[in-house]
């Protein structure tokens, strides 16, 4: 076979040819690859890998490109360098406002939620016949919390003629303020909603609590430690890895909050609940400013990365791993 004739062959033929060659020359090698456990493993996760590449990696990389362009969704993007990033900090008061709102929300709601989750987990860790039932019941809100239906419910609860005001009237506190419409209270309705979804953190705490050996508590009570001492000296230190995990996860979740603000408050009143993700959405899909929105997304990524790495760094000082005992 001359080299010249090769390009005329179809690729399929070439592959078959190559396969045959492999089979003949290194039959054992080919068979080994095909039959190895790794290969079947890769084949099994292939759908996920493909999905990850096509639906996650490619979009992420294209937003990086788009963040350097002016792109209005309808016409093709135009390269403008760092202009979007510069505009964020020099000429966009709403961007700064959305950062402030988001930071306030995250730094208030996450600690509240974790404290609440830990308290409920402590209560539920006492064994009783009903505790599996309670566990299920308390978990329900966090399964529904991010949904549109709950957001609509929240809107009804806290509106001027909503359930909260009706209940307050019952105990003769007469008010008809719209909790969602009042610039001071609006963000708190969203924080309450976040805290209400404590279920998943609670379950993780509960699992952590179960892992603490009972013998520690027994020894402590024999030595005369009271409830609080046992909690602060035994439970809390041994729970720090779990707190650490929950903190990181909830922090990331908090920064990405969107649905609640989008449906309940629409960013208002006076932009007091204009979360970062919501403003990003408005920029991209309502003002047709997709390039800018992509730049915002990348900036958010940087913020989350910095905060997470700070928490990881700080974990040396406060997270206690039993296995690291000296």
């Amino acid at each position: 076979m001359t080299r010249k004739s090769q390009p005329k062959k179809s690729w399929l033929f070439l592959i078959i040819n190559w396969e045959e060659k492999l089979m003949n020359e290194k039959y054992s090698f080919f068979k080994r690859v095909l039959n190895s456990e790794n290969t079947s493993g890769y084949v099994f996760i292939l759908p996920w890998i493909l999905g990850f590449l096509i639906f996650t990696i490619i979009p992420i990389l294209s937003t990086l490109f788009l963040s350097f362009t002016k792109y209005d969704l309808l016409t093709s993007p135009r390269f403008i360098g760092f202009e979007n990033y510069i505009r964020m900090f020099t000429n966009d008061p709403k961007f700064i406002k959305s950062l402030k709102v988001t930071f306030f929300y995250v730094f208030v709601s996450v600690p509240l939620k974790l404290t609440f989750a830990l308290m409920i987990a402590l209560l539920l860790s006492y064994n009783s016949k009903l505790s599996p039932l309670y566990r299920a019941i308390y978990y329900i809100p966090s399964m529904m919390g991010g949904s549109v239906a709950i957001a609509v419910l929240w809107k009804r609860l806290f509106s001027s003629d909503g359930t909260i005001n009706a209940l307050l009237n019952l105990v003769s506190i007469h008010t008809d303020i719209s909790w969602i419409g009042n610039p001071k209270t609006a963000i708190w309705t969203l924080i309450i909603l976040a805290v209400w979804q404590f279920g998943s953190s609670m379950l993780i705490f509960l699992a952590g609590l179960k892992q603490i050996p009972v013998s520690y508590y027994e020894a402590a009570s024999i030595d005369g430690a009271n409830v609080f001492q046992r909690f602060f000296r035994i439970t809390l230190p041994l729970l720090t890895p779990i707190i650490f995990f929950n903190l990181v996860m909830q922090l990331i979740n908090g920064f990405m909050t969107f649905t609640q603000a989008f449906i309940i408050t629409e960013g208002g009143p006076l932009n007091n609940t204009l979360f970062y993700a919501l403003y990003l959405y408005q920029r991209g899909f309502q003002f047709f400013d997709m390039g800018y929105a992509c730049a915002m997304a990348w900036f958010m990524l940087i913020i989350i990365a910095i905060l997470t790495s700070l928490i990881f760094k700080s974990s040396n000082f406060w997270v206690y791993y039993e296995s690291k005992e000296e």
Binding site: S178, G181, I264, T265, E266, G268
Partner: protein, 424 residues
Amino acid sequence: MKKYKTYSILCVLFVLFLLLGNIGLSAEPITLRISWWGSQTRHDRTLKVLELYNKLNPNVKFETEFGAFSGYWDKLAVQAAAKNLPDIIQIGYGYLEEYAGRGLLAEITPFVDKGIISFKDASPAIKEAGMVEGKLYAVCLGMNAWAIAYDPLAAEKAGISISKTGLWTWNDYRRFAKKIYEATGLKAELPFMDEPTNILAYYLQQNGLNLYNSTGTGLGFSDPKYMQEILEIFLDLVKSGAAPHPSEYAVTRSLEDSLLVKGKAWLYWLWSNQFVALAQAAKRPLSLTLPPRGKNPGLFLNPSQFFVISANSKYKEEAAKFINFFVNNIDANKILLAERGVPTSSKVRKALKDIVDPIVKQTFDYMDLAARNSIPTVPRQPAKASEIKKLGQEIFQKVLYGEISPADGAKEFMKRGNEILQGK
């Protein structure tokens, strides 16, 4: 044995598949995707018309995408970017230029030439309204104008008579609102709180100005006093309790959810065609009247919505047939009952007048009135209009919440509005 069974099932399935394919081929089924925004009344009526069309043309099926106004354009923009726009799209005047200019819409002229879409019963201005740079892209579905709906019983109780021809001034508006609030406890709703630039535009047009300049590169007025004046009027009403606190509007309310419908207000600003849905939801007699008058007419006759055909539609001709049916068929319009605005076809209008639906008659009468109190042209809506509307909403909220003074609010609107329009 097991294998044999599987094969036989597969064979049967295959034959069925072929048969189905054959049936399909003989009837040439077509699925048209259609999208619109609106109130529940509109959804119900439009779905009924689609059903009717399907009965008359069994091969045409519809895939509907409908919802509220907020969110509609977000979704459409994404579909446009994905080259996946529905075949038939309801579009607003403010968006026509943007979509047509980017080549997303199909030209309709060939279908008009072939006689598939007929404009012969409509005034030439109707056809012109759907043109962008001399090319026809859109078919107007009806005309509307800004209006005030009010509860005549509440006014009567307070001993106030509001002329149907709207012979009231802005001062009357303030006085009446306060008087009725004192007598009945009912409030005058704040105007267009999800799009308060409407009320600003109305006030500007009364003063012979426009919200946007003719090229769409800046605001059409340079003196902040107009905006300050309009803000002062409504701030005064909010402070005195005659208008609801702005926090009532922090969450967009649907028409069905308005304070008027809930029996807490007596006056509501709206687009005239929305009156049909409002009156239906309110379940009590309401009247329509002109907004307070000024030096010049402040209204304009607005092409309320259009149907357009997307450029990537596979069934443009079928879509055109349906649009013609929607606009010119009398049975269809007897279902729609002018909910999208006063119909453009004179024949349809005549037929509807015979039905004498009292609510429809009210909107028809109002449109006659509005026509006599309108500026002759339709003001231009630049591509950045959506961002200006958001800014207007922000400023109105800030002022009515009492965060900043009307004067400062007006100045801020002028500064940032011009920045947005100039593209910074």
